[in-house]
């Protein structure tokens, strides 16, 4: 290989690393075309979006709060993907995990926080893990494709948890009784005080750092970061991670080397589901203190985009989740500040375009590299 080739190969390696940024810029460009078509100034809209989202501490807090569940679901998708599995059932795993967390939280009210908080976190992970184990076992034992099964499990989870929420519906408040109205959307009773995670404002006040007390950012963000570190460790520093990646890379060769495909598929799905279930720590234990379906809408699906943008690497997932947090919070604020002129669903469109562009850009760069290597 000539010197010139090696040099251009080096540029390609760099290019491979920055495809997500190219995709983000491309998607923002397409988004700006849409904004132009709506007769608005895209530069002003983006300036507003980013300025409001990350211009001050309150904005950052909201961004990280919105990024937290996406770190969990993004890690869930990325982890399964490392085993060659598409877990697009994050949505259902979130519903079930969060419900189990809420159930534990409002049932074992007599326990102290030292016991109840770990128990509730465990319940969130367990619920997600259980729900993901079903498609995992079906895939491992019968070969049914996990994509369709996980999607079907999402709808089943939505119905099941909705039913359970009706069953464990919070009693009507005095004001509701007086007005003679019922809950429109069922939600469970609040979890015990001892099961709640502290808000960031409370923690920062110990260090004399000013942080708005109404800000929803809570300890769950740290749990998400710890989860990302643990997933990195499992994938690249343990035998389990090695086996899971081997199965994802080449199942036949792994089987030949004595690695059980079935065992690793089930394990990967269980861990993936547990990660998705942990969303319950943010929305239930740290935010609304109860289970309510709309809290979890699309978190599982957005996790897919986060994982793809983060190249299925824990660090990438965290960064992508924060970007999506900015887009989501900024988009919501722009919607409010423009009086609904710019629907917040614009953000979903931009996210979808990011996904398409990132896979296309990856594919182009991969091909360029292969071609260089062949020369």
């Amino acid at each position: 290989m000539s010197k010139i080739n090696q040099k251009s190969h080096f540029y390609l390696v760099i290019l491979e690393k920055i495809t997500p940024f190219i995709a983000i810029l491309g998607a923002l460009f397409i988004g700006s075309l849409v904004i132009l078509l709506m007769g608005e100034n895209p530069i002003q809209v983006y300036k507003m979006m980013f300025g409001l989202a990350i211009g001050n501490r309150d904005g950052w807090g909201n961004v990280l709060f919105r990024a937290t569940p996406l770190i969990f679901t993004g890690l869930a998708v990325a982890f399964a993907f490392r085993c060659g599995l598409f877990n697009i059932g994050g949505e259902g795993q979130v519903y079930v995990g969060a419900f189990l967390a809420a159930y534990v939280g409002f049932t074992f009210t007599g326990l102290s926080a030292v016991l109840l908080i770990p128990l509730t976190i465990f319940a969130a992970a367990l619920g997600g893990a259980f729900w993901a184990s079903i498609p995992g076992i079906l895939k491992a034992k019968t070969g049914v494709h996990e994509v369709i099964v996980t999607i079907m499990m999402n709808w089943i989870a939505a119905s099941l948890t909705f039913y359970l929420a009706l069953l464990y519906k919070a009693p009507a408040t005095e004001s509701m009784k007086a007005a003679g109205v019922q809950q429109m959307i069922p939600h469970t009773s609040e979890i015990a005080e001892a099961a709640r995670l502290p808000r960031m404002a409370t923690i920062l006040s110990y260090f004399n750092i000013q942080f708005p007390s109404h800000n929803p950012l809570n300890v769950s963000f740290f749990i998400a970061i710890i989860a990302a570190v643990v997933i990195y460790y499992i994938l690249w520093k343990t035998n389990l991670g090695y086996e899971i990646r081997a199965v994802g890379h080449n199942p036949m060769a792994s089987e030949y080397a004595g690695i059980s495909i079935a065992k690793n598929i089930i394990l990967a799905m269980v861990i993936s589901g547990a990660l998705a279930g942990l969303v319950g720590t943010n929305e239930v234990m740290g935010y609304k203190f109860r289970w309510r379906q709309e809290l979890f809408l699309n978190l599982g699906f957005n996790g897919i985009a986060v994982a793809l943008l983060g190249k299925n690497h824990p660090l990438g997932v965290v960064l992508a989740a924060i970007l999506f947090g900015i887009l989501s919070y900024g988009g919501a604020l722009v919607n409010i500040f423009t009086g609904g002129k710019i629907p917040r669903e614009l953000i979903i469109v931009i996210q979808a375009v990011i996904v398409i562009l990132v896979v296309v850009a990856d594919e182009i760069v991969k091909r360029l590299i292969i071609r260089r290597k062949l020369v």
Binding site: V144, M152, W155, Y163, F301, A305, I356, E363
Partner: protein
């Protein structure tokens, strides 16, 4: 039992099966050519929205259906560009199309109608015989009319499309080429068949079918559009396609099975005190059972899901 399993039951079974059949046929065309299309769900959803929007703008439901098909073809084209030309992962592209669809439909709902539930202002006529009142004719004739000859035109069109799809895929040179690029694209290529073109056409037909299926959901079944109204039917259609062994008639049969399941669940609700949430689970549970049941006897096209590389890199 006789007030459950009557002619109306069978008619509602057919109506439930139509969108699944059409979307499933979309899956058949796409996968026969070697491209997995899990974007069917999003294409259906977009079709459902566009059908209502175009109907309300033009005051003609046929225009609505036409635009649903056109938009389906367009989304199919995007899926083809991403997966056939750029050879990106087909599942990822499908997921992105689904994400795009759920965003763009609500986005445009707000923009054009200022709400997320839009009534369809026009309906398609009923084609066939009028339903005779009791005593006018025998109950057998009445039943036959209810089941077979008192439907929206789309129902008859759907059955014709199933028949045409079978003929196109299995009895024409085009169908032979389509299947050959899905089974063994390298061999097809050496015989002078343009693999890329065939796959583009197949995925765009797939999009057209999904768009049509979506228009049936909104204009015919619900008479309105509401966000996320496709409700996983694109994936159930894929399950029907797999259970139907990637054939048009098999897909129709499987879709009718789903129709029986869903229609039965709806009827049984009135007989036993089953919570509605459990009734709602039936189609999805059925899809999982059907997939498990299809294992071992199903045979996907050999090159299904594998991008075509002219030279193996």
């Amino acid at each position: 039992m006789e007030n459950i399993l009557n002619a109306d039951f069978l008619a509602s079974m057919i109506r439930i099966a139509i969108p699944l059949t059409l979307a499933g046929l979309g899956g058949v065309f796409s996968e026969k050519s070697g491209v997995i299309n899990i974007g069917l769900e999003g294409m259906m959803l977009t079709g459902a929205f566009v059908a209502v929007a175009a109907t309300n703008f033009s005051h003609n439901p046929w225009i609505g259906i036409l635009f649903a098909i056109i938009v389906g073809i367009f989304l199919g084209l995007i899926h083809a560009i991403v997966t056939v030309s750029f050879k990106a992962n087909q599942i990822v592209s499908g997921v992105a199309i689904n994400l795009f669809a759920s965003g763009i439909t609500v986005f445009l709902s707000w923009l054009w109608f200022n709400e997320t539930q839009i009534m369809a202002l026009e309906r398609l006529p009923i084609w066939g015989f009028g339903i005779p009142s009791a005593g006018e004719s025998s109950s057998l004739i009445r039943s036959l009319i209810v089941i077979f000859a008192h439907h929206s035109p789309m129902v008859y069109i759907a059955f014709i499309i199933v028949l045409l799809s079978h003929i196109i895929i299995f009895k024409t040179p085009f169908g032979l080429r389509l299947r050959s690029v899905g089974e063994y694209p390298h061999a097809a290529d050496t015989l002078g068949i343009n693999v890329i073109n065939m796959r583009y056409i197949a995925v765009m037909i797939s999009g057209a079918m999904a768009g049509l299926a979506g228009s049936f959901l909104s204009i015919e079944q619900a008479h309105f559009f509401v966000k996320e109204m496709s409700g996983g039917r694109g994936f159930i259609a894929l399950a029907a396609m797999i259970f139907g062994k990637w054939t048009p008639f098999g897909t129709l049969g499987a879709a009718l099975l789903f129709g029986v399941g869903e229609a039965l669940a709806i009827r049984l609700q009135g007989v036993f005190a089953i919570p509605v949430q459990f009734i709602n689970m039936v189609p999805y549970l059925l899809a999982i059972f059907v997939l498990v049941g299809a294992i071992g006897r199903a045979s996907a096209p050999a090159a299904d899901g594998i991008p075509y590389e002219k030279e193996i890199l």
